[in-house]
Amino acid sequence: MKLLFERSVKGRGSDILPDITTGTYKPEGKYLRQSRMHLPEISEVDLGRHYTQLMKQTHGVNDGFYPLGSCTMKYNPRVDEETASLPSFTQIHPLQPLSTVQGCMEVLYKAEKLLCEITGMDAMTFEPAAGAHGEYTGLLLIRKYHQDRNDSERVNIIVPDSAHGTNPASAAMAGFKVVNIPSNDRGGVDLDALRAAVGKDTAGLMLTNPNTLGLFDPNILEITKIVHEAGGLCYYDGANLNAIMGRVRPGDMGFDCVHLNLHKTFATPHGGGGPGSGPVGCKDFLKKFLPCHMVEERDEFYYFADPEKSMGQVRSFYGNFLVVVKALTYILTLGKKGIPEASGKAVLNANYMMHQLKDHYHVAYDQICMHEFVLGLDDLKKKTGVSAMDIAKGSLDYGIHPPTMYFPLIVHEALMFEPAETESRETIDEAVKIYLDLYEKAHSDPEYLHNAPHHCPIGRPDDVKAAREPVLKYEFND
């Protein structure tokens, strides 16, 4: 595949803009650019074809099964794209007078009310632009809360060893020290370890439930109680909310604040790595620390208000607004019955798939799972030499996006499957057949899997070379 720059021919391109009509104002002097800017010079038709080729080398949700654990790759409804493309949303300047943006304000207000009900929270900000950004914001709420009480001793955030990597990274960024605690033999929080870890220095606990093994922690009420009794707060990582939405709420489980990933649970697309949206909800007592620009309503007029002891801003303006439009459309479509139906089917799909794989593959924790489950391929690797990576790469040849690999860290040779609710029984049956074929292949022809994939645009790339001799941009000859 040629690069844009390799398609460039001097002098080509189309006229997008009209000639200047306002006369001959021209800048001069020492501030002017001297160096040349190598941008592609390319006709519109060649530009279009370039990206059509790139498109063909991109695996989207509609290209096939996408059981990527912890990422909730569900179908992205088209109507959500349509509402977010309405010119009366897209063409609005964020600094227009309030009376001219009442529609946008209503979107934020309605989305806040609905998501608060779904999570059991009392207020929500849409400023964070992604999940990790939400984690950071939620942790700042916790920081502000303790500061406001003049409790400067609480510097630790407790994170289970099964947590997403963003959890400890966000805690560090928010100025906390990270205390890792081990999981118990069922992948849940080890209550004794938690009791031993909490104390006067505990600012809070970050937890995702169901956890990264896809298991709902039955001790959840005890866990949040232990943290609260020690004076800490409980943070809910919403990455796995798709398992439980409409069935049990973080707020009812004892969590004080949450972040959501609208690009997971609420069906907004991932865009190849963003834009996402990571709203943060909290209980009443934390509301006063939320970021600026909370939407309030009086006499059917929406306006912005800054919370009394606001943390300030974590992003410009009001977050990834158009993503919120998509999520709101989704929630209004599903409604009170559709939301729990979606989570229930996600859990059913995961159990259905796990059930059919477990006679061959080793399930890391063999019990009812939530929306995802983890296989441990340690034994397979010892027996055949075929690793989790090999199986994952093998599945690429069948048009399946691999599950999440080598995560969580506490399971060796882990493969984590999340077959979202929008996948049909037939799709899962076909995928199961493929994974059983791969299992056979691991025994009959391991070499074939070591070299997989065989039918993709490229084979396995040389990651070592990429990292040792970084080439991070195209080098021009002239």
Partner: protein, 435 residues
């Protein structure tokens, strides 16, 4: 109720039966009885047709202005038709982060092309795959400058207030001391920088054009910072870079900025795009995803996410940033935009913004809206106002014209390529009516 689950309820029951359960509720047996939700208190779902109608009705409560003379960080531009066509391709819209390189060469190559274009625009060596927006890019860049004995940052008070707000939040959480430098005639004052420099100063964050639209003398600040073994970060306007000196030409260490102008709609604040590029020596401090070129086992060119050991999923609490999802599709949008415009198109765009805004300044001056500053400006400028700015804003809004932004010092006006002579003359006539 709209739904996206393929199976009917009876089909789901059959699936349940196959795995030995009688109801979906049974699968939630681990959830303590007392917290199981009896029912969500939200409205019933609706059909696609109804939801679309409802959302249109909400959207209709907004005013779409015919003519916009307001910038302040977000700018109305023409978006070439090809940009929307390409970036709404389903594969690009719905793909996950390209961790599986073998089936993600499309997205990976597009990011590599984006990185190259950002390096070309800014004249620097290395770019990442984007961060959330320009304000976060500035905050992340500040973290890049910190060293063991350098934990203070100087920030010009001429920068965008949204960016300043984000910088303050980020720096406070990491105990980085922010010193705000008082401007002189809405330009950063080099004496003020000298006065506040000390051995703990990690760097200076400055924007050009700044919030007031003025071009700053970046080269002088870069020299001063480097003499003092500190870094300089420039927040820049990507459109202006087609005319004005690139950060790399002025010995800037890190360039950041808001990429909204590169083909993204204003969208009431987002999604936008924070771009970041830096000198090679800072490469490993750059946060977020980076795409690199390599080969596969047959020697074919391949693109991969690289230098991943910097990132949170590997380094966990020791990572310099927690960023994971970024704004990949927005980065692709910017890349398509820059390719569609080409070098000549970008130059024409920048000249149009320059010319139109200077024409606007002249016409406003005739009406008594005097420029308050003398410095050189690109496409935004500050004036006094002979009338109450809010009354003016309201009266112009009735004609679907968005006035300049009322600020403490007067009105901050902006003109881009969309504000042609005709549109400006119409504005001037409308203002005459109001006065």
């Amino acid at each position: 109720m709209g739904r996206y689950i393929p199976e009917t309820l009876s089909e789901q029951e059959a699936m349940l039966k196959d795995i030995g359960y009688s109801s979906i509720d049974d699968l939630y047996s681990m959830v303590p009885e007392k917290v199981r939700l009896k029912g969500l208190n939200i409205p019933e779902g609706k059909s696609e047709m109804e939801v679309l109608e409802d959302m249109k009705e909400i959207a209709d409560h907004n005013t779409v202005f015919r003519s916009i003379f307001r910038g302040a960080g977000v700018y109305a531009h023409h978006i070439p038709a090809i940009v929307k066509t390409i970036t709404s391709k389903e594969e690009f819209v719905t793909a996950y982060t390209p961790y599986q390189a073998e089936i993600s060469q499309g997205v990976l190559q597009s990011i590599f092309e984006y990185q190259t274009q950002i390096c070309e625009l800014t004249g620097l060596d290395v770019s990442n795959a984007s961060v959330y927006d320009g304000a976060v890019a500035a905050a992340e860049a500040i973290f890049m400058t910190l060293e063991r004995n350098k934990d203070e940052i100087l920030v010009s008070d001429t920068i965008d207030p949204e960016t300043l707000a984000v910088i303050r939040t980020y720096c406070e959480s990491r105990s980085v001391k922010v010193t705000l430098l008082q401007n002189k005639d809405h330009l950063t004052d080099i004496e003020e920088v000298k006065k506040n420099l000390n051995e703990r100063t990690a760097g200076l964050y400055i924007e050009s054009p700044n919030f007031y639209g003025l071009i700053e003398d970046i080269e002088a600040f870069a020299a001063l910072m480097h003499e003092n073994k500190a870094r300089i970060i420039e927040g820049c306007d990507p459109v202006s870079l087609a005319l004005y000196k690139a950060p790399g030409e002025m010995d800037v260490d890190i360039a950041v900025g808001e990429g909204q102008q590169l083909g993204l709609p204003m969208g009431f604040g987002g999604p936008y795009l924070g771009f970041m590029s830096c000198k090679k020596e800072l490469m490993r401090k750059l946060p977020g995803r980076i795409v690199g070129e390599t080969t596969d086992h047959e020697g074919r060119r391949a693109f991969v996410l690289t230098l991943q050991a910097r990132e949170q999923h590997i380094r966990r609490e020791k990572a310099s940033s927690n960023i994971c999802s970024n704004e990949a599709l927005c980065a692709m949008t910017a890349s398509v935009y820059l390719a569609a415009m080409g070098p000549k198109g970008m130059e024409k765009l920048a000249l149009s913004c320059y010319s139109n805004s200077h024409y606007l300044a002249e016409k406003l001056n005739e009406l008594g809206f005097r420029r308050t500053d003398e410095g050189e400006f690109f496409d935004e400028f500050l004036t006094s106002s002979p009338v109450d700015p809010f009354v003016l804003e309201e009266k112009l809004a009735e004609k679907k014209i968005l006035s300049g932004l009322p600020v403490k010092e007067g009105i901050l006006w902006c003109a881009t390529e969309l504000n042609t002579r005709e549109k400006i003359d119409e504005l001037i006539a409308a203002i005459r009516e109001v006065m």
